[in-house]
Amino acid sequence: MRYAETGFNLEVDLTRGNIEKVATDPRDTALYLGGLGTNAKILWDRVGPEVTPFSPENLLIFSAGLLCGTPATGCNRTILTTISPQTELMAFSMMGGFWAPELKYAGYDKVILRGKSEKLVYLWIHNDTVEIRDASHLAGKGAVETAEIIRQELKQPKAQIAAIGLAGENRVYYASVEQGRSSASRGGIGAVMGDKRIKAVAVRGTKDINLADPEKFMSLCNEVLDYIKWREDNPIKGVMTILQGLGSPQEMKVHDEKWHTENFMWGNSRTRRKGFWNEEIEKEWTDTLEGARTRLISCFNCPMKCGATVSMPGLPTYMMKCFTKLTYTMAAYSDLDFGLRIAQKATEYGLDGFSTPQVMAFALELLEAGILKPEDFPGLPESNEDRFFYLLDMIVNREGIGDLLARGTYWAAKEIGNGAEEYAHNTIKKHEQLPLKLSMLNPIYFLMYSVGEKINITQIEGQFPQAPFPKREHREKFCEDWIQVPHEKFKQYFIDWELRGENSIPYYPTVEMTCDIVEWQEMMHYIDDALGQCAGLSSFPLKPPYHIHNYPKFISAGAGIDMDQETLSDAAKRYRTLVRAVNIRRGMRRKDDRPPENHWKKRFPELEEKLLDGYYQLKGWNKEGIPTKEALENMGLGYVAEDFIQRGILTEEETADVQTETQTQ
C-alpha cells in the first residue's frame, strides 16, 4: 500500500484523446518526494531543451503535493509545472484552494497533459471515470464563470475546477490558471494550457488517503495546531504588522496600507509616494474594502483566512488574496475602488496580478515618451482608469498593440525597439517583479533575487528577519524561542547584525553567512513545494509551525519513508539541483542570475560576484552556475552529469564550457 500519496498519475494525450492511469515508482518518492520534486524529474526526463513552450511536446503537469489530502493543516497546494512562454525556463507556479486534495481523493497524485487538442475541451476526473469533454460552449468565458457552468452541467457542486479565462485561451504570456479563491499565476502557465486547448480540469474524488503511522501523524498535526494558536496569540514584536503573524500577508483583513503605498513604487515601478497615506484616504479605502468584502476565507484544511470574497457593486463576485489588492491601484495611480473593480475583470480573464498592471503602466509610459504613438492606441480613453480597462481588453484579445504587450515588458520592448528596452526595467529572467526599488544593497536579498528559480521574491524569502532589530537585547529575545533554525549558528548571525556600523549591510551578513541564510530559506520553500504545504504556515512567515525539525517526522509518519533532517535536506537539494539542471540545459547561466539593474541605488559589483561565487560553491556549481559532475553524482544525479557532458555543457574535466553563451532567445 502507498501512504500519503496514491501511487498513480493520470497521463492525458490531448492530441489523440488518450487517457491512461499509470502507477508511479515509489523509489522516486523517496528521492524527490512529490509535487515540485517529482515534477522536476518528469520534466527533465521528458521535455528536452529543444521543446518550445507552445509545442505539443511541452508537458503541463498539475501535481498535488506529497502530503496533500492528509490531515496536515494547510497542506493543499497544487504545483503546476511546464516550460514558461515568457522565460522559456521551467515554470512552477502553485495554487492553494481545494483542487489538490480533491485530486488525491479521486486517486491520483498528478495529471500530466501532453499534446494539443484540436478543439477546446475540458477534462473531467471523477474517481475512476475520466473523460475529455467538449468545451466549445465555454470559449471566451471567464475563469470563475467557467467553473460555475461546469459544476452545474455535471451536477457536481463539490467538483473542484481549475480553469483559464480568455487570456489563457489567447496565450497571453502572463495568463494564470484560476481555481475559485486561488490561482497559479506566475510564469504564464495559463498560456500553455490555452495552447493545449484545454479550458479546465474538473475533479471530484471520494476515496481514502492512507497514513503510515496514524497515531504519530495525528500527534504531529495537533502540535502544529497548538503552535498556530500560540503564534496567533503571540505576534512577533519589532517587525511591521504584516510580518507579525502567520499566513500570507493579511491584505484582505488590514486597512492600514501606509507601508505598501509609501514604500512600493507606483506606475511602471517608478514613483515612490512618501506622505501619500492620510486619514482621508484611509477612510475611503476602508469603506471600499468593507463594502466589497463579504467574508474572509481559507483554503482546504487551514485556519488562516488569507483570502476574501469580494463583491463590487454591479460586478460579479470573485475571490482575492494578498497583494493583487494594490497592484492595479498603484500601477494606475488610482484608488482601491478602481483596483478591486479591474481585478474582478482580470480574474475572469485569468491574468497574473504582478505582471499585468506593470505591462499596462509600461505601455502608457512608452506612449508618454513618444516611443509608442497615439495611432498605436486607437480610441484611447482620457482617464487613467479607463485607459487601464482599455489596455486590459486589448491585451487579452491581442488586438493591435495588445498583441505585443501580451508577451510582457521584455519581449514587447525588444519588438518595439527604439529605446523601449529601458522601460522594461523591472524584470528578472524576462519576468516582471514586485514594484520595489531600494537604496542600499542587501546581500541576502541580492542572492535570493538572483538565484531564486521561481523568479519571484516572495517564493524564496521568509524564516530569517528582513532587517536587524535596532537593539541587541531585542535580537537576543527573538532568538530565545527560535526553534525553527536548522543550526544554532543562525541565531548568532542575527544577534550580531546591526543597523549601522561594521556589522551592517552590505558587508554583514558576510558572504558565507548570506549563503547559509539563503540556502536555508530556499530549502524550506522547496520542501513546501514538494509536500504541497502552503508557504504561509511554513517557509514564508517568521517562526512558522512547520520547519526542518518536524518535517522529517511528518514525512516518515505520513508517507512511510524514513526521513531525518539530513535525508530531507539531501532530497530538497537533489530536486532543487534538478530544477537548475532543466534551466541550465535550456541555456540559463550566471549572467541570468541577477536582480533588476535599478533594484538598489547603491550596488557593489565586487561583493555581488563574491556572493554568487559563494552560493555556487556551496551548491557544488561551477563559476557559470552549472552543477559539477562530482556534485551531481554525489546527489544521485549522475544521469544529469552524463547528459551535460554529452551536450558539451560540462566537459569530462568538470569545467564549464564557457562558450555556451547561447541564450534561449
Partner: protein
Amino acid sequence: MAGKTKEKKIVKTIKIDVDKCNGCRACEVICSAFHASPKYSSNNPARSRIRIIREPLRDIYVPVYAGDYTMAECAGRDKYTIDGKEYDECSFCRASCPSREEFKEPDSGLPLKCDMCEGEDEPLCVKWCLVDALTLEEREEEVEEQEEREDLELGLESLADKFGMQTIMDTLARMSKDDKSK
C-alpha cells in the same frame, strides 16, 4: 420498548456560527480520520459526518451534522432567505436521505451519523475549528430514555429499505451457508 422513564442528562450541543465559518473543511478532514478503522489510518471527507454546505460565490457556508437516516425524501423542500441569502431547506437538514449524496458512505451508500466522537473530551471537529465556527455547549435536560441503536442495526435497516427485508434475509442466509462450506 416498554418502561420509558424521564431522566436528567447532560446534553452536548455544538453551536454553529455560520458567520465565522471560513469554509476550510478541517472538520470534515478530522471527522473522517477519527472514524477510520483503524482510527486515523486514513481520511476522506466523503465519509465525514459533518459537511460544509458551501457555495462560496453566494457566501453560503453551513456546517451540518449527520443525523438520522431516512428512507424517503421529504415532500416539499422549502427555501429560506436569511440576511438576503437564499438557502435550500436541505442546507440545514441533518438527514441521510435519498435526495442527496451527503452522509452516506461513498462505496456502500450506508448512512452516516454523528456520534460526537465518543470517548474524546470534545468532538474533534470542534477542536479543529480554530476559527470558532463550531463550539461545544453542555446543558442539562430532562429526556426520555431511549435505547441506543447500533450502527449495524441502522445500516441493516437502510439496506432493508433499499432491497427489501426478504432479500436481505435471503442474502444473509446464503452468505452464512457459503461461509460454513469454506
